[in-house]
């Protein structure tokens, strides 16, 4: 892993398009999935997808190869999501950084969103609906943990929050999902 990240860091320092091509190929689905769950809108997610890779090229020299590339990639994407959503919804950052000592969130099924539209199967529809009803801060850690299979420390690095906060958000998010599924089955 270490050698791999060093190769990436060297390539990014040289702004080598071949390395960028390989990284896009390798991380395209994971990055797009994160973005679509974070912004809930296909078009915005597509814009941010492009923007993230351009930012990776421009800021590539800041990646030192000591941490996993995906953590750095998702951190860049997260900052772009925050900038983008803050323009549309000024309180988005507050929602994303919301303290987790509140009551567990309750998922409310609202109007069909892009998240739901991308869901093609029954289970996907359920997950799309459930995730769309969750606060962004919970959605984010759930995606990073269970879809991207990141370690808690990596998630903490990406979201810039203490480990305890990450865990609390995961507990509450998971509980909300379980309750939603339990309710749907009842």
């Amino acid at each position: 892993m270490e050698q791999d990240t060093q190769v990436i860091a060297r390539g990014l320092r040289r702004r080598d398009p071949e390395i960028l091509d390989q990284l896009i190929e390798r991380y395209q689905y994971r990055l797009f999935r994160y973005l679509i769950y974070m912004v809930g809108n296909q078009e915005t997610a597509e814009d941010l997808f492009q923007e993230t890779w351009v930012r990776v090229l421009e800021r590539g020299r800041q990646y030192d190869g000591k941490s996993k590339f995906e953590s750095w990639l998702f951190t860049i994407a997260r900052h772009l999501v925050i900038d983008s959503q803050r323009r549309r919804q000024p309180r988005f950052l507050d929602l994303l950084d919301a303290e987790s000592d509140a009551q567990p969130p309750t998922i409310v099924q609202d109007q069909p969103s892009a998240l739901e539209r991308v869901a093609q199967r029954e289970t996907s529809e359920w997950v799309g609906a459930a995730m769309a009803g969750l606060p962004a801060s919970y959605r984010e850690v759930l995606v990073l943990r269970f879809q991207e299979e990141m370690a808690l420390e990596e998630i903490s690095e990406v979201v810039g929050a203490p480990l305890s906060t990450v865990k609390a958000r995961l507990y509450r998010g998971l509980e909300a999902l379980r309750q939603f599924l339990g309710g749907a089955q009842a």
């Binding site: 421009e58 991308v118 869901a119 507990y171 998971l174 939603f180 339990g182």
Partner: protein, 163 residues
């Protein structure tokens, strides 16, 4: 069974998914789930929730990926060109600075001589010397500001980007 036992089991079930639990806790939980239908159902629902979370597909348009690659290559090309331009600018700066340092005594003497001959007050020709000294930096700063280009437009299709 008391509510506390069920709560402990539920808490351990979630903890096992989030940060893991100890072997002794795992053993206790396993035994409890065999006896308690309510908690077993809770465990099954949680298991399904995580499994569904992991299985959801997100459709990614291949054209978007290609357009992204194109945009990244285009930007890499722009950055390379910019680097060459900046290198030229820095070389000019270095030469300008070196010439400025070397010629400063001469310029000072010339301005002093002109000042004495034309009865220009000393602060005035000294100010002229300062302006002569900072002029290259002002010109370079103006060039840098002027050359700053707007960001490349966003597009999903390489053909649109190329126009």
């Amino acid at each position: 069974m008391s509510d506390d036992i069920h709560k402990r089991a539920e808490s351990l079930l979630t903890a096992s998914r989030v940060e893991g639990i100890s072997p002794s806790e795992r053993g206790w939980l396993k035994a409890h789930l065999q006896d308690c239908a309510r908690c077993a159902e809770h465990a099954a629902t949680l298991e399904r929730a995580v499994a569904m979370l992991r299985s959801i597909p997100v459709p990614l348009d291949r054209a978007l990926v290609e357009a992204t690659r194109f945009r990244v290559r285009l930007r890499a090309h722009e950055l390379r060109e910019e680097r060459v331009r900046m290198l030229g600018l820095w070389i000019s700066c270095g030469l300008s600075w070196a010439l400025g340092v070397l010629s400063a005594p001469l310029v000072w003497q010339e301005l002093e001589w002109v000042g004495e001959r034309t009865a220009i007050p000393r602060p005035a020709w000294m100010m002229a010397f300062v302006i002569w000294w900072v002029l290259p930096a002002v010109v370079i700063a103006a060039v840098l500001i002027w050359r700053r280009e707007p960001a490349a437009p966003r597009s999903r299709h390489p053909a649109t980007l190329a126009r």
